[in-house]
Subunit: 360 residues, 2 copies
């Protein structure tokens, strides 16, 4: 098969240009005689790769010097523990908003360390919307307020940044980072597993306001202590060098595409096309409150569930891969991250239309 359109929620499709460059450089990075994955992380060459990646990310996302940028390992799931361990300080309470499966995972892990207050939940709405902020039961003395700007499984995305006064705002941006413009200065901490919009799995990026560092609890494993990682330029130990390099290639590619403003326009257009098609076709449905439909992850169902397997088989045959929904919700899901070209969405819609005509 030539390159397929891969709608996987993560690990996810990467820009073909990035993979080609990585392929070209695999055995010999720019005349160095070695692959990037064979380089000492303390070599001049790798440090330039690492620093350039950080600078490009800062430029793309508009990250000021008030923030440290950390390249860590262990995915967003490790951050579910690291966040309370690092940010509680002398407080005990943390507020969380529950909008679905990833919120719930973050809450469950935080509750092992903190007095967690679920300030709002869309559980009663089947996690198909974002709770009205006027109803949020937040606490002024919480160590932080955590939310999940995009629920990868449910396909629910906030169209606003919560207001929380002096309480630091913490966001799991794994599936939506760099997909549209975002005012980073509104956040205390942003974290994002790389395997959706940044690069391969095995890397997690943390953007943390520097005044929040230095408060780690005594039991915090050193490798999860933000202050230590920041003080060592994310090289307290050997970082995930090859993943960091690939992230840097993705950042360069994003800049060439016009940055997050251009990405935001493209992603909105891609998502709108697909939602408009779904809404106009009786054979397909998306359960999410239209205001909060995700640009990144579009779950949809077929009018006849018995046809799911046939739908997936036909899609596979056309090189439209990984459309099966998450096992916890069923149905279908198309993830439309930055690296999914508009042609992939067009091909998907064409297929969905013909499938509905023939089998619907």
């Amino acid at each position: 098969m030539s390159r397929a359109f891969n709608f996987c929620a993560g690990p996810a499709t990467l820009p073909e240009a990035v993979l080609k460059q990585a392929q070209d450089e695999m055995l010999d990075w720019r005349g160095s005689g070695m692959s990037v994955m064979e380089m000492s992380h303390r070599s001049e060459a790798f440090i330039e790769i690492a620093e350039t990646a950080e600078q490009d990310l800062r430029e793309l996302a508009g990250i000021s010097d008030d923030y440290a940028v950390l390249f860590m390992q262990g995915g967003a799931s490790s951050q579910f523990s690291a966040i309370p361990l690092n940010l509680l300080g002398d407080r005990t309470g943390a507020d969380y908003i529950n909008t679905g499966i990833w919120s719930k995972k973050a809450i469950a892990e935080a509750a092992r360390y903190a007095d967690v207050n679920v300030a709002a939940s869309s559980s009663d709405q089947g996690f198909s919307t974002v709770p009205d902020p006027s109803t949020w039961n937040t606490r002024a003395d919480a160590a932080y307020l955590h939310y999940t700007p995009n629920e990868t499984i449910g396909g629910v995305e906030y169209d606003f940044i919560p207001e929380c006064g002096d309480v630091p705002l913490v966001a799991d941006l794994s599936s939506t980072i760099l997909s549209r413009p975002l005012d980073v200065s509104r956040f205390g901490l942003i974290y994002a597993g790389a395997q959706k919009n940044i690069g391969p799995s095995g890397l997690v990026v943390i953007i943390v306001r520097k005044d929040l560092l230095g408060k780690a609890r005594p039991e915090t494993p050193t490798m999860l202590n933000y202050q230590v990682i920041a003080d060592n330029g994310s090289m307290y130990n050997t970082p995930a060098t090859y993943s960091w390099y690939l992230a840097g290639l993705v950042f360069k590619w994003l800049k060439e595409q016009g940055g997050v403003a251009a990405m935001g326009e493209l992603n909105e257009r891609k998502a709108r096309k697909l939602y408009d098609f779904i809404d106009a076709n009786e054979f397909y449905a998306n359960p999410v409150d239209p205001r909060y439909r995700s640009w990144m992850n579009v779950p949809f169902t077929l009018a006849d569930e018995a046809l799911n397997a046939d739908f997936l088989k036909g899609a596979d045959e056309r090189g439209l891969l990984n459309l099966k929904g998450h096992r916890s919700v069923g149905g279908m899901r198309a993830s439309l991250y930055n690296a999914m070209p508009e042609a992939g969405v067009d091909a998907l819609i064409d297929y969905m239309a013909s499938f509905a005509r023939e089998r619907g």
Copy 2:
């Protein structure tokens, strides 16, 4: 430059055949239409990659079903915390042997969680040897005994496996795993950062006796809980999929080379050649007790330190890279992991001989 001989201590040189296969498969893994790094970790294709890697590792290292094999993130440094958090159980004490910088790091982190007893140390010998086991002050009620079979920086390697009765033996095998035959059944837990003899950084392999699972302390971050990782086949969260795949390619390559028995012969021959040359040439010296000289990391000094920079410059020009010793000890260091061909050692010795003739 064509492929150089890269003597870096880690991240380290990888087999050229492995890099070529990864290069070939970068954009399209076996007709799948995608790179391995774009695959869902829950896809059939990736699960086969992951399970094959584990099976090959079990076969290579002789790991029985009494042991779980975990593919985690965060490097050996994360394990410095994970080990006491998981293995202390209802005990408080852990014994450690101190043979150098990596031992000391493991000890410092463990001391944050455990009553650490340094049962023996070669500090008084400048970490140039292994303390005589008859002098070790171990405790029968320790939760485990930890040692560092190969000190990457000091170039000191045990030529025996410590006896410790019913106390589980724990070893940081980062720089020596799969480099020679080893009786895994003697160990309670083995851990190894991948970036020396296994693959790229960002992956750490844990081999743990199953009866030691299930004792994690309450404060253990879930992502460091061996039981959770084992129960989920190392997919509690998204693993470092591409690193896992590359590790699998390295394991296949090792099997093709004849496995660890053949590697042991080759590595002993490579190391012996270099040590014999150093011992026979007055211009070079290695400070380590001959019995405990590492097969993997060969530190050496020049008779005139003022020539260090010239030595390194000339080496670079010949494609003999990363020979500079660790910043904490100075001098030179040649790392001779599995993927360093004998021709690399020959080329290094040729260069060292000519440098000594001309400048010594």
